[in-house]
Structures are given as C-alpha cells and as structure tokens.
C-alpha cells in the first residue's frame, strides 16, 4: 500500500498518477492524500516521483479521458481521487468501457462529471450581482456552489459583462474581473466576503414585482419549482422570500383567475371599438374607466 501526498490540484494529481501508472501500481495499492488539511497520513504520505518505473512502461489513453477526469475531479467528496485513478488504470490497459456510463466505474465517473456541469450551470444561472456605488460601477455577488466550479465560470461572466468589473465571492474562493483581466483568489478574503454578502440593491423591488407578476398562480406547481430551483439556493436569491408567499396565495384562491395578486380588483379600462391611436395620448382614445373593485 502506497500513500501519495499532493497539493489537491488536478495538475499535481495528474503528475503523481503518471508516476504510479509507470510503476505499475494497481488502484488498490494507492491511497491519495490531498491538501495539508489531511493529518492522518502525514507521517507516511509522500510524492510518487521516487517510484521506479517498470522497464519499457508506457501507456496510451483515450483522447477525451483527461478532460473528463479533470471535470470529475471538481466533484467534492471523500474519495475524489481513487475513482479517477481506477478509471485511468483500466483505460491505460485498453479497457475503454471504464469511461462509459454503462460500466460501474464509468457510470460513477460520468455521474460526477454531470453533477459538476450541472453545478456550473447553477452558478451561471443563480449568481445575483448587486451594484456598488451610484451610478453602479462594480457588481458583486455571493454564491455557494456545491462543487469546485467557480474557476470554470470566469470566462462566461467575462464574455457576458464586457467592460463592467465584477466579483463573485464563495465560501472557498473569489473570482474577480476588472474589465480586462481575471483572477481567482483562494481562500476568499473575509472583507470581500463581507462586501458581497452585505451589498444592497436599490432596484431589487423591480425584480420582485416582475417575479410576482410573471408567476401564474393557476399553474402553481411546487415539485416542478424545486426541480428547477433547488431550495438550497433560495436564501441567496432576492426572490427566495417571495416563493412561499406566492404558493400560499395560490392555494388560497389566487389560482382562480391567474392574475397577479397586486392587480386583482384594480380599476380597469375597457377599450371602445372606435378607439384609434390608443395610449398615444392624442385624445381620440375611448376608454371606459371602471370603478375600483377593491374593497
């Protein structure tokens, strides 16, 4: 049994794994210890670069494998690295099914890669930028991803925001864009964290009004909501607090007309047949004001 210590990055793991493969170490002969936080193996863990390579050893792997391993390595769990090495080991011996979703290892690998992609998508979707300064010059966001995906999102937001500077802070790291260059800072400095968590948005009411109105209470469907927008994200979304209120409203009768609660019973305007130049304010508009039906 060989304990391999490395700094927890994919690049370092890749170099160590290469040594292990060349030395002919089978998956059950290797234990992976990542990062300085792991104390238990300190006495024994070591890098693998002193392993003797087997004479004439070399290996080939499918071209798509490194990218897939790198993606799956971003999945946070206890045994992150041992699965990766098992797949690499099998693939290096010509067993291509180790990558496929129909294989026990392959299905686990694919599932982790998929979860990472999904979490990146969540980050693209649910990050909420709040403006700093008046007029707004910078935008900051606080987000809690379940996997190590922040780095992957930098390019997306750089393309999206153009010259506008932004910062995304997470419990682990912060990503920064000054309008021209990007940086990933890990761990996230406490002052940045505080800035991202406390920024207030004077225009938040506009978004909430939109969210309330675009919802159709006649179609209320809690399960579908939870599937699209897992509850763990609600606390950092401005609309998070409106969700329960809207669902309760729907149950208590808002679903009868589907109209947003704020509009129900408000004075309306029927429009006469002869109307022309409507709402353009030319005075030819014929509308009948109805009395406010609200009690």
């Amino acid at each position: 049994m060989r304990q391999i210590r490395f700094d927890g990055t994919f690049e370092a793991w890749r170099a160590e794994a290469r040594h292990c493969l060349l030395a002919g170490l089978a998956p059950d002969e290797v234990v992976w210890l990542d990062g300085p936080g792991d104390r238990t193996g300190d006495l024994f863990g070591a890098a693998a670069d002193d392993l003797p390579a087997q004479p004439g050893a070399s290996f080939r792997i499918p071209r798509e494998l490194p990218a897939l391993l790198q993606l799956a390595a971003r999945f946070r769990c206890e045994a992150r690295w041992s699965l990766l090495y098992r797949v690499l080991w099998r693939a290096s011996r010509g067993d291509r099914s180790a990558l496929l979703a129909g294989d026990p290892d392959g299905s686990l690998l694919q599932r982790r890669a998929k979860a990472v992609r999904r979490e990146l998508h969540h980050l693209h979707a649910f990050v909420r930028f709040r403006p700093l300064g008046e007029p707004a010059k910078h935008f900051v966001a606080w987000h809690e991803p379940a996997h190590d995906v922040l780095e992957l999102a930098i390019e997306h937001f750089a393309r999206r925001m153009g010259g506008t500077p932004w910062m995304i802070a997470t419990p682990q790291a912060a990503a920064l864009w000054d309008g021209r260059r990007a940086a990933l800072v890990s761990p996230c400095p406490p002052t940045w964290r505080a800035l991202a968590q406390t920024a207030a948005d004077p225009d938040e009411a506009l978004w909430l009004a939109y969210y309330r109105s675009i919802f159709n209470p006649a179609r209320a469907n809690r399960e579908a909501l939870l599937k699209g927008l897992p509850a763990r994200f609600w606390k950092d979304l401005p609309e998070g607090t409106a969700i329960c209120e809207l669902l309760v409203g729907a149950r208590n009768g808002d679903r009868r007309t589907g109209q947003a609660a704020a509009l129900v019973g408000r004075a309306g305007r029927r429009i006469g047949r002869e109307a022309r130049g409507l709402a353009a304010g030319q005075g030819e508009v014929s509308v009948r004001e109805s009395p406010d039906r609200r009690r």
């Binding site: 930028f129 153009g162 009868r256 353009a280």
Partner: protein, 403 residues
C-alpha cells in the same frame, strides 16, 4: 404611472405566452469590447417561478392596450384590466438593469395591437434597434411578430432579434374565426413565410447579415376551443414541415379575469399540455409522425405517455433485441431515450448488453422491461395483453393531480 406599476401590469399581461427560451443564438461575446452581453447557444434559466416555469428572459408587453378582442386573451379590448404602456427607453433600461444583475439572459418583447399592425411592429423593432445599436447589447432578443406587418419591418426585426415568433393561437381556422374575430389564419401563415424566407436568404449568404439565427416559434392555446390532440399535433407537424419552426409551444388555457362565457371556466388542463409536449418531442427528436401517435385522431392518453401508448398499439415490433436492433428502433422503446439509445449502441461495441446496463444508465427499467431482450433477459410479459400491461405501467395517480 410609476415604472414598477407598469412592470407589474405588463408582465402579468405577458405571462400567458409559454415561450421563454434563450437557446439557439450564435456565440457572441462582449469580452474586451464596449457594450454588454453574450450568448452561447445554450439557454439559461435564471430563476423559476412557483409554477415551475423557467425565467430566462424579461418577458413583457410594450403595452397591453389592444384593439383586438381575442376571447381567450386577458388583454382583449373588452377586458376590464388596468392598462399601461412602456416607452421604448423604459424597456431598454429594465432589460439592461436586469441583465447586469444576472437576472435574465435577454428580452422577450410582445405587444397588444395599437393603431395598426405596422405601427405596433415599428415600436417593437425600435426597442430592439436601441438595444443593439445604441447600447451594443449582445444578449438574447425575442420579438413577437405582428401578422400583417410590412415585410420590411419583419426583415428589420430579424436583423436585430435572435428569435421571432408569430402565434397561431388556435389549431384550426374555424376556432380562430370564432374566438379571435380580427385575426386571420392566412396572415399568420404569411408572416411565418416571410420569416422563413428571411432565414433562407441569410443562410445563402453566410457572410451577410444574420436573420433570427435562433429561428421562429409559435404557440397554440390548448382547451380554449374543442380541437382534439390529433388536430393539434397535425397542425404542429404541418408548421414544422412548412416553416421549419424550432418550437411549437402549447399553452393550457388558463382562466383569466372575467372570462367570456364562451370559454370553459376550468382549471388549465396541465396534464394534457404535458402529454402534448411529450408527443411534440417525439415528433421533433424521434422521427415519429403525428399519424403514428394518433392514427384515428382523438386525444392522447392521460394515464400513460405517448411513446408507451404507441408501443402498446404496436406490440408486433417488440420485444426488441438491444444487442441487434438499429439505434433508431431502440430509441422507440418506452423508457429508453435517444441519449441512452446512443449510449447502448456505444457500449455494445465493447461487449454484449445485459439487463443491468439499463439500470446503470438509469433508463425507466420498469417501462422498458416488457419491450426488450438482452443477453441475460427475455420478458416474460411479452405474452401479456396490452390492456394488462397498460394497467401495470400507468403513471402514478399522484402525477395526475397537477391541479
């Protein structure tokens, strides 16, 4: 009127349009340039409302004043609702503000008909032009196209927008005549034709200006008239074939304030809408024809999905040997999607397929079991009558209670 008030009214007026897609646009980027916004081809749902629908775009009407009297519509002129109108600048401001906060990926702008079709279309185009030209906005824009608008205006709309849509509203011309007296099936299809021609011209000149690169879509209202699912799906199929539509959306008619008496005062038929989307997916992604799914018209079954219904009606084709069959036929097996059909074909190049492979791929194994053969499995139910199988495989009653 305050901006926030207008927004409340004009979002409420827009929510009956089901489409909120932001996918299919070409890759655009603002990195290292002035302006704002990007598109990647993939849509993003920035939020979900408690009806489970995705919020991808700022979906609003420019105004809910309308000269028309479409009976199913909350904005019809005889409807007693608060009315409002945005200025184009207000729409631009809201779009950019929401976009910077990462609340939306763009704008879906529609409008009631004011003054004339041309005037209304001009207003919509003006917003898109402001966004694209003055603010160098590169996010997603979806514009509603007003039937009868000047083809030149539609052409300009296509230059600015990623997607254009004209709603057919009702599956039949008779339905339209009865419920939307000012609308004509012919002018709706003409507008679709103008868009289609614009797309084709742009494709022939790859270096020229783009034209609605995310294509066109439409929407049909379900349950406002008596059309059955067969009619609806055949209409959809004709539109897919004739105009290369990217999507047909189905919108269960949802009660509106003071619904006219000629319309049903019922909860929206959500399960029926769900089955139509499933059937539509089979038309677009699986090569099914409407006539295969509903050979004698009528409605789709509510208790089982349309693929299972088709398989039960075509037992002679099953069971399918997964180690031998064409991938296209494997994709027609209930419980196995196109993606998994492709994965199975990949896997069987490495080794023989076994029953456990279906479980590992997370196919709906219970549904698939009576219809497949693997190296280690042959269905005992292959001799069961379809009626018995149907009893066994129907969706849980919990799912039937969407309302």
């Amino acid at each position: 009127m305050q901006l926030i008030d207008k927004l409340s009214i004009l979002a409420d007026a827009a929510k009956y349009d089901a489409s909120c897609a932001s996918s299919g646009a070409p890759r655009r980027s603002s990195k290292g340039r002035s302006g704002l916004g990007s598109t990647s081809g993939m849509g993003i749902c920035h939020s979900f409302t408690p009806d489970g629908r995705c919020v991808s775009l700022l979906k609003i009407l420019l105004t809910n004043f309308c000269l028309y009297d479409c009976q199913y519509c909350i904005n019809r002129r005889s409807s007693d609702v608060p009315r409002a109108r945005f200025t184009p600048e207000e729409v631009v401001r809201l779009t950019l503000d929401f976009y910077r906060r990462n609340l939306v990926s763009g704008l879906f702008l529609s409008s009631g008909i004011i003054r004339s079709a041309d005037y209304t279309m001009e207003q919509l185009v003006r917003v898109a032009r402001l966004l694209r030209e003055e603010h160098e906005f590169r996010g997603y824009i979806h514009l509603k196209t007003i039937p009868d608008a000047d083809p030149l205006l539609i052409a300009e709309a296509g230059r600015h927008a990623d997607r254009l849509s004209v709603n057919v509203e009702l599956p039949t011309e008779q339905g339209l005549l009865r419920l939307a007296p000012e609308k004509r099936a012919r002018s709706i299809r003409q507008a679709m034709g103008v868009i289609r021609t614009g797309e084709q011209q742009a494709q022939q000149e790859p270096r020229g200006a783009t034209f609605a690169p995310a294509g066109q879509s439409t929407q049909m209202i379900i349950g406002a008239d008596a059309s059955d699912d067969g009619t609806i799906l055949r209409t959809a199929e004709t539109l897919y074939d004739g105009f290369r539509l990217r999507r047909v959306y189905y919108s269960a008619f949802s009660p509106i304030p003071q619904s006219p008496r000629m319309l049903a005062q019922q909860p929206p038929p959500l399960l029926r809408e769900h089955r139509l989307y499933q059937a539509d997916f089979l038309l677009r992604g699986y090569g099914f024809r409407a006539g295969e799914l509903l050979p004698d018209n009528g409605n789709l079954a509510l208790d089982i999905d349309p693929k299972l219904a088709w398989a039960l009606a075509n037992r002679a084709l099953f069971p399918v040997d997964l180690n031998r069959a064409e991938p296209a036929l494997i994709a027609r097996v209930p419980g196995i999607g196109v993606l998994n059909a492709r994965r199975l074909a990949e896997l069987r190049r490495e080794r023989r397929l076994r029953y456990a492979d279906l479980q590992r791929l997370r196919c709906a194994v219970e549904k698939a079991a009576p219809f497949v053969i693997t190296q280690d499995y042959r269905p005992r139910q292959a001799t069961l009558e379809s009626a018995v199988l149907r009893q066994r495989l129907r969706d849980g009653s919990a799912q039937l209670e969407l309302w």
